[in-house]
């Protein structure tokens, strides 16, 4: 009898724990989730925040989908508000499921917001604990929201296309991916300025084109860099990339080099000079004169031509960035590391445009591609 009562007591106590099985509260079926795979942040004409979200329809995307051939495997929603959060909260009233940002891979920022300064508009995203810190940020020169509605030739979701593109290392020739945490790191850091890759859409071929960078000064858009300038930026900064360099080395003869890596040393000579020593290496992939055999003198000439080309382009790029007061390379970090006294952003903003920045380049052709 006593044993039976003890058992009942124990069962009652354990049954009290049932509501505590807290996982149950958080279980939401995938069909009932509105997974925002991409977000676009823009301003309306009357300066209200315009948010557009791309939401996939899971039953049309999963391998066991009802209609895998359907083109409409996602839909987009747009909301407006005085602030980003106010706009974001309106997604709730426009959807039946639970809004979820854990799979937001792409965040596209409109040019208008970039020109005004991104900090106030991104603040709420930085405070969302579950927002993926590795999501990719891009800038659109047109209407960012419309890019999320575009059809892609490969029949994949626009955000999946962009995510896959940006995750591949060998795509980083003229564009350097920017992740959310990295963008915040540069926004918070007074000794380096952020940038964003620029996104276009080719309606003829139904593809996205990532070409060039939008350079910021603080949190405001300062200047656009061409794809060629983006290449040079990659060499000068820590954004390492495999790129192709093209230059003339003799009259009517051009070479094309697969650039592999570089070692950059920044040297600060107070009060006004920074020296950038660049030691680069690459493979010779094309020589339009098809010169054979390549003697050491030829290689030396090629290396000098490449070094000269990089130096010229780098100095040109640096002058552009200085004029826009945009320290994309993060030279401020070099100065700060050797700075005596209290470092302030004002000090750096004043100093940077007037700095004398010298570039010294050594190029080594480590492979010529043919046995002479």
């Amino acid at each position: 009898m006593n044993k039976g009562l003890s058992l009942i007591k124990a069962l009652l106590i354990w049954s009290l724990l049932l509501p505590v099985l807290s996982g149950c509260w958080d279980v939401v079926d995938i069909e009932k989730r509105e997974l925002l795979t991409g977000l676009a942040l823009d301003l309306t004409e009357n300066s209200r925040v315009l948010l557009t979200a791309q939401i996939p329809v899971p039953r049309l995307i999963l391998p066991s989908s009802e209609d895998p051939s359907s083109d409409q495997n996602f839909y987009t929603l747009s909301v407006q508000g005085a602030t980003t959060l106010e706009a974001f909260n309106k997604f709730k009233s426009k959807t039946s499921g639970q809004i979820d940002t854990i799979k937001t891979n792409i965040l596209i920022i409109g040019e208008k917001i970039a020109a005004r300064g991104v900090k106030p508009y991104l603040d709420t995203i930085g405070r969302m604990p579950k927002f993926p810190v590795n999501s990719h940020l891009l800038l659109s020169r047109g209407e960012p929201g419309s890019l999320l509605q575009k059809e892609v030739a490969s029949k994949t979701l626009p955000t999946f296309y962009l995510r896959d593109f940006l995750n591949l290392m060998n795509k980083r020739e003229t564009v350097h991916p920017v992740k959310l945490w990295n963008f915040f790191y540069k926004l918070d850091n007074s000794a380096i300025d952020p940038f964003l890759p620029v996104l276009y859409y080719d309606s003829g071929e139904k593809i996205f084109i990532l070409a060039g960078l939008a350079a910021f000064s603080g949190d405001k858009l300062a200047v656009f860099l061409t794809p060629e300038e983006s290449k040079i930026y990659g060499i000068l900064s820590s954004e390492q990339a495999e790129i192709t360099l093209f230059t003339q080395w003799q009259k009517a003869r051009f070479i094309c080099v697969r650039y592999i890596n570089s070692r950059v040393v920044y040297e600060w000579s107070p009060p006004q000079t920074i020296m950038i020593h660049l030691t680069a290496a690459g493979y010779l992939m094309e020589e339009t004169g098809a010169t054979l055999p390549l003697i050491p003198d030829h290689i030396s000439k090629m290396e000098k031509a490449l070094a000269r080309q990089i130096k010229e382009d780098a100095e040109k790029l640096i002058r552009r960035l200085q004029a826009a007061n945009s320290d994309l390379i993060g030279l401020g970090r070099v100065v700060r590391a050797n700075h005596e006294g209290k470092w302030t952003e004002e000090y750096w903003r004043k100093l940077y445009p007037t700095l004398q920045i010298e570039v010294k380049v050594d190029f080594n052709l480590t492979r010529t591609g043919r046995l002479n």
């Binding site: 509260w25 590795n134 915040f184 918070d188 970090r333 070099v334 700060r336 590391a337």
Partner: protein, 375 residues
């Protein structure tokens, strides 16, 4: 209730009993302190704090020889007298109660923000405290065994820190040693709270099988945790910079979330870290609960009962209820963080002050006792 004796701890269990709470407590937010006080080379606060903590270990070891088999709760009245001993013991236990509340509030806050945000906070609170009480109820061996079982979780945390160096840049941790010496000493002193769980040595030493190993094992724990925190702090600063990391409530979690191996690892490794740390936090709570309840039960006992106390189990239940109520009364994490500095200073003064007071009083009494014997 049948009274059971606590089994003496083997050196390895003793080691894990100290390692787990010390490596877990403040792991998620510690770098904020060093970054705010020192700046870009705030990680240098850790070696300074390491040096400051060694005397604490020496004092605890000294008392383990002076009063073998007794905990601090038992020998404090013997050294300082009944009344002052009681006051000091209460202060000592208050420090560890607050430490338990802070650790639990952080663990629950993290679970609530990242994993269980639709679950009522109250239920997570009850679940966490209840589960910790359950294990503490079965004594020091159970808590120590769980701690030793969680070595893979600590290794996992270490591995995550190592992988997070993926985005590390040396320029972010410079300039080095440009601050005045005083700043590093202050930073080290303010970082001492990382090692407060090591103060449990004053109680845990009474449960060890081999007294000779107390100092070497506790020093090993201190060295390992210091190395772990140093690498962690250096990594976080190298990725976010000192000014950048202050943006985050849990810099460590954000540090690990930056790991990106798109075609090899999970999208967000941070969530796995959260689970690993959560388990360690749970184990640490069981240890803290045990020592708190055991300490409280010893307050009214005569010295010499360290190995035979069982009434701590009833105290444990009351302690659990008080802990749930205290955690529930903390409105949010910001409230706690805003007062963290005050807790660190007061607790440091109590813990270190009490240790030195005990040592000085004990040495003085011995000196005078010798003098009398000579007469």
């Amino acid at each position: 209730m049948k009274i059971k004796k606590h089994k003496a701890l083997s050196p390895s269990l003793f080691f894990f009993l100290l390692l787990v709470p010390t490596s877990t407590f403040s792991f998620m937010y510690y770098p904020l302190t060093g970054a705010k006080v020192i700046g870009s080379d705030g990680y240098l606060a850790i070696p300074v704090a390491f040096l400051f903590t060694i005397p604490l270990l020496l004092i605890a070891t000294y008392f383990s020889y002076r009063y073998p088999g007794l905990t601090i709760i038992e020998y404090t009245p013997l050294v300082l007298g009944k009344f002052l001993g009681m006051v000091c013991n209460l202060l000592y236990l208050a420090v560890y109660f607050m430490l338990t509340v802070i650790l639990l509030r952080d663990a629950i806050g993290l679970a609530y923000s990242f994993l269980l945000n639709r679950t009522p906070f109250f239920f997570i609170n009850i679940l966490m405290v209840g589960a910790a009480l359950y294990l503490s109820y079965y004594g020091i061996s159970s808590t120590a065994r769980l701690a030793s079982f969680l070595l893979p979780a600590i290794v996992f945390l270490g591995l995550m820190i190592f992988l997070s160096y993926q985005n590390w840049q040396v320029i972010n941790v410079l300039p080095l040693c440009k601050q005045p010496l005083y700043t590093y000493i202050r930073g080290g002193a303010l970082s001492l709270y990382v090692f407060y769980p090591l103060g449990l040595l004053f109680q845990a030493a009474a449960f060890t099988k081999r007294r000779k190993k107390i100092f070497s094992l506790s020093l090993l724990v201190l060295a390992l945790v210091s190395g772990f925190y140093f690498l962690n702090f250096l990594g976080i600063t190298g990725v976010f910079t000192a000014e950048g990391l202050t943006r985050y409530l849990w810099p460590n979690l954000e540090f690990v979330r930056t790991i990106s191996f798109p075609f090899a690892l999970f999208d967000d490794v941070g969530l796995i870290l959260l689970v690993a740390w959560g388990v360690l936090a749970y184990s640490s709570t069981t240890i803290l609960f045990f020592f708190l309840a055991h300490g409280l039960s010893q307050l009214t006992l005569k010295p010499g009962n360290a190995q035979s106390v069982a009434s701590y189990q009833r105290i444990l239940v009351v302690l659990g209820l008080i802990t749930v109520a205290t955690i529930q009364s903390i409105p949010n994490l910001d409230f706690l963080r805003a007062r963290l500095n005050l807790f660190q200073i007061i607790s440091g003064l109590i813990l270190f002050g009490l240790s030195f007071l005990l040592l000085l009083t004990s040495l003085t009494r011995r000196y005078f006792a010798r003098g009398k014997n000579n007469e």
